[in-house]
Amino acid sequence: MSPTVLLPLVVLLPLVGAGITLAVHRSAFIQRVVAMTVLGLQVVVAAVLVVLVDSGPVVTYIGGWDAPVGVTLVADRLSALMLLVSSVVLVCVLGYAMAQGIVDRDAEAEAEKRDILPVAVYHPTFLVLAAGVACAFMAGDLFNLYVGFEVLLASSYVLLTMGGTAQRLRAGSIYVVVALVSSLIFLMAVTVAYASTGTLNLAHMAARLPEVSPAVRLGLQLLLLLGFGIKAAIFPLSAWLPDSYPTAPAPVTAVFAGLLTKVGVYSILRTQTLLFPTHEAGERRVLDVLLVLALLTMLVGILGAVAQDDIKRMLSFTLVSHIGYMVFGVALAGEASTAAAIFYAIHHITVQTALFLVVGLIERRGGSTSLERLGGLAKASPGLAVLFFVPAMNLAGIPPFTGFLGKLGILEAGVENGSPLAWVLVAGSVLTSLLTLYTLIRAWNKAFWQPASAEVVARRVDVRVPRGLVIPTVALVSVSLGLTVFAGPVYEYAERAALGLTNRTAYIDAVFPDGLEGWTVKDEEAVASDGVAVDGETTGDGVASDGVAVDGEVSP
């Protein structure tokens, strides 16, 4: 079997699974079996892909149409690694959700009306979300990326407003409207890209963009950053996140926190490295803006977290804050910083999801997620305390966990960069890390360490946390610990992935194995105008100048 079959498979498997689970919605058992099988297979396929693409990107031309005419799916090291981590997370969260569905139907959760998952709708929607995430990671063209985003966003709307309770509707309407606007901006960027380059294939655009006038290119870059920035929750565009995520049921919040923002970060990473490499002055300016935004994201996010009493909301704010680290890594735009950003993204997906699952357990055991109403959990439930403490310390960046390694990598890259702005960011990162530690320790002290008052004990549900919920959580925490143990190979893989991003030719050559001959303007233009290499900015004709900035880098 040729490896190219695997790429459509990662999108098709969950989609077919979604169809089947919808058809058999009467039988919760068959739904569970199908959903688990499909996502399990996705993990296997993703693992195979991670190994395969280490020797070079795998490209599939859907329907036999070669690039740039047809839809192209591309898996390189970055997308395969992201896919593997997200499918592992999806499996764990699905396991948790299943157990919650079973437990809640047995127990008297009906009365509480808070954490009920209508399982019949949940499974198909969850699988469509998985398909959308996979589609976004595998997309080889901008429009397909848009479609992937729409698929995962549409299912996220359903998951977030599931049950249609007042609280979820309020949070959901803000979330949906913000996401709709970000999609419109993204679609506008797609249109600008098509109008200016005549293609949407990312590799093809990478070859063509140097010929586009710098002003249009800058506009396109900003539009894309704006669209992805909302999805990734970068500071001025992040206000929607801490408000909407905490209202959803624990498994939904967990998967949103882990995956959705990271798909935005992935898209920024992909488009910035492939379409807008750093040697242009204009692009450098944009990256400086991105650096400032990264700093603000980190600081504003973590200060928001410090002010929260509710663990779910606190974690949502730390989520925003830690997106800043990844943006910092991306904006430094070096090989080392990109590698660190990739590693940090993987770390953050697993740890943030694990923490939200643990909070679901805390809510079950302690009867609340408010720090004012919790206490003494370490004594009452030592296992739960360990489950919270390990990922919490991981997130705060205590050695030897992955959070420490990722932060260290980003800080090293920042110091190596050496510009004053980079130093400010290094300081900001360290401060953010300390404040993260402070918030998490505060949560630990209040919920677990301090003796429980009589009122707290009275509220506490004195039942064991169901094993079905604990096992997936333990699994996910173990995955994050596994990443710590195997941090060496994983970090090396991330470094190779970063190499593949900064050195674009491998990607472009994989998509166009016969070269870009006949697909570029360059050869023709150079002959026609007798090789007048015009540097777009000096033609002086303003925006509409036909600045054919001939750029030697991407010639086939």
Partner: protein, 167 residues
């Protein structure tokens, strides 16, 4: 087949007489203006409180952007892509993208419509509420005796209790 960048956009040049995709003509100004008006009114409506108006704004803005995609495909008037002829054909890719975009818009319109209806069921109106942080800040200010009137503020941290207005 390849593209040439010129002062009037991109021109597809091909040795194959079958496909002469015409994209070099400047698109109609009327359409560009319509895009501008649709997006502008759409943005205005998106800033409203009522979900129904937000929905209308989304529909207008996305239709504006759909038109923009058509504009990106070059000027109208050329033959559709069908059969073999040597005359210029219109860009089929832009049309394919518009179709996809229209389908997505339709589905999301239905979803937001359902949300607005559910909101009306619950509260008797479909206004988007303030988020929790806003309300906390407002309450904090009110406690310090500044601008806001505490009577306007909801009781619980989550604000809207589900029982309010359901009956």
């Amino acid at each position: 087949m390849h593209w040439l960048a010129g002062s009037s956009g991109l021109v597809m040049v091909t040795d194959d007489p079958v496909a002469q995709i015409q994209t070099d003509r400047i698109p109609s100004l009327a359409l560009v203006l319509v895009v501008g008006i649709l997006v502008a009114t759409g943005v205005y409506l998106l800033l409203e409180r009522s979900l129904t108006r937000v929905l209308l704004g989304f529909v207008l803005a996305s239709n504006g952007i759909n038109l923009l995609i058509l504009l990106a495909g070059g000027a109208g008037g050329a033959a559709p892509i069908l059969g073999r002829s040597s005359e210029p054909i219109s860009d089929p890719l832009a049309q394919a993208m518009v179709l996809t975009s229209i389908v997505i818009t339709l589905a999301l319109t239905a979803f937001v419509g359902a949300m607005a209806y559910r909101s009306w069921q619950l509260y008797g109106h479909d206004e988007v509420q303030d988020d929790i942080e806003d309300r906390r800040v407002a309450r904090f200010m009110a406690e310090r005796g500044e601008d806001e009137d505490p009577a306007d503020l909801p009781e619980t941290a989550w604000g809207l209790d589900s029982d309010r207005g359901v009956a």
